[in-house]
Symmetry: C2
Subunit: 212 residues, 2 copies
DNA sequence: GCCCATAGGTATACAGTGTAGACGTATACA
DNA sequence: TGTATACGTCTACACTGTATACCTATGGGC
């Protein structure tokens, strides 16, 4: 059975959560499973395939079990999209190592396609013309993944922490707009509410695209 | 002088362009410079710092030389933002290896801060309230970098190439929205015009935020 | 009972990685 | 002349992914 494969995957996930993606070496995974490194190759094709399987595993937990055909979806389209977006962000925050992989690996696993289908469905219900649906799906998912990736990789938080002394303006007027915005740049930027505001804006963008 | 450091950087850039980011090993760079691997450590602190310097080098070429105070910026705010966005996309397409690094390394180099300042300035001119400017800068840059990264890493192009036989619907009605959109999913998705359409939408989003 | 194919695991080995540490040398300044 | 500093080399270490070869236990057909 594929029980062993599952065991390997769980071990790799645990190591990634504990020690980061760099900690996931074939030897480390093998040791955790209690087996020789080369034994892994019988179950996963290699390191690349192992990484793919890891993100696939995470994606499979994104959506609730597929009862979408049994019962009517309760929420409005925008609430469904927002819920999915929040789920992605939460997943990336729990497993920061997954962020770079989400960009490189295309969504080909059945679970990933299922998620895309949920987005398509919501966009159609929103009134987006069929022709525009794939584009707006890519726009939305790019933003959500990009936000989460930026967040966990420090691209947002460590940006420009009061540069060059505590006065607002840079030496010799280097960055005038920064100077003017100093009071707002000083705040630590609550990323949870920022995500909600962004999400709101993007959903309005979709509404606008639907009404054309 | 730092001439040697520049030489090392150029060598690393050239290797990344030719053989990808994985080709950039200390040994490879050293060989190209004509020196022993350990000699690099006198000029760049280590591999991580080398990578940082590489993206810094690319960013420094993004904006025209700083004459922003000599002459008035000619274009409207939205044209300026669009130009910068297109420049980022072009840069990533020319140097695909840079995409993942742009997400992880925060914008702390002077050139990066200068680019952010340009965006701030445009957003202010657009009429965005000061309080909202940093957020919308992050939203815009996240989208632009995310789009470019997705594009060069194959997240867009290799998505679902007519899955499971050439009929639109999946076996046993797995993905209804996919089925409905089949005609549009079949097109190869012109990413250049898609980028322009997205950009247009995001700039409208900014306009909407300005008018509140 | 016998035989053998197959699945799963092990041992060894190879080429490559980043970099710590010790050592050398040449130039510039006191 | 002496010495400090910048720059480079050499060696070595602890890793990485994985190709290859070998071993072992289990199950099915005869």
């Amino acid at each position: 059975m594929g029980g062993r494969r599952e065991e390997i995957l769980e071990a790799a996930l645990a190591i990634a959560d504990e020690r980061g993606l760099d900690g996931v070496s074939m030897r480390a995974v093998a040791e955790r499973v209690g087996v020789t490194p080369m034994a892994l190759y019988r179950h996963v094709g290699g390191k690349a395939e192992l990484l793919d399987a890891m993100v696939g595993h995470l994606l499979s937990a994104l959506l609730p079990p597929d009862r979408s055909r049994d019962r009517q979806e309760p929420q409005r389209w925008d609430e469904r999209l927002a819920a999915l977006a929040r789920a992605v962000r939460a997943m990336v925050r729990r497993h920061p190592w997954a962020a770079p992989l989400l960009f490189s690996r295309p969504a080909v696993t059945p679970d990933a396609v299922r998620a895309v289908d949920v987005i398509y469905d919501a966009l159609i219900e929103a009134g987006v013309p069929d022709r525009e649906v794939p584009r707006l799906e890519r726009l939305l998912s790019t933003f959500v993944i990009g936000f989460a990736a930026s967040e966990v990789s420090g691209r947002f938080t460590s940006g420009d922490p009061d540069p060059r002394g505590h006065r607002g303006s840079h030496p010799e007027g280097g960055f005038p707009a920064h100077a003017r915005l100093t009071p707002w740049l000083r705040l630590p930027a609550d990323l949870a509410t920022e995500f909600e505001a962004d999400l709101d804006d993007v959903l309005r963008l979709i509404e606008a695209a639907a009404g054309r």
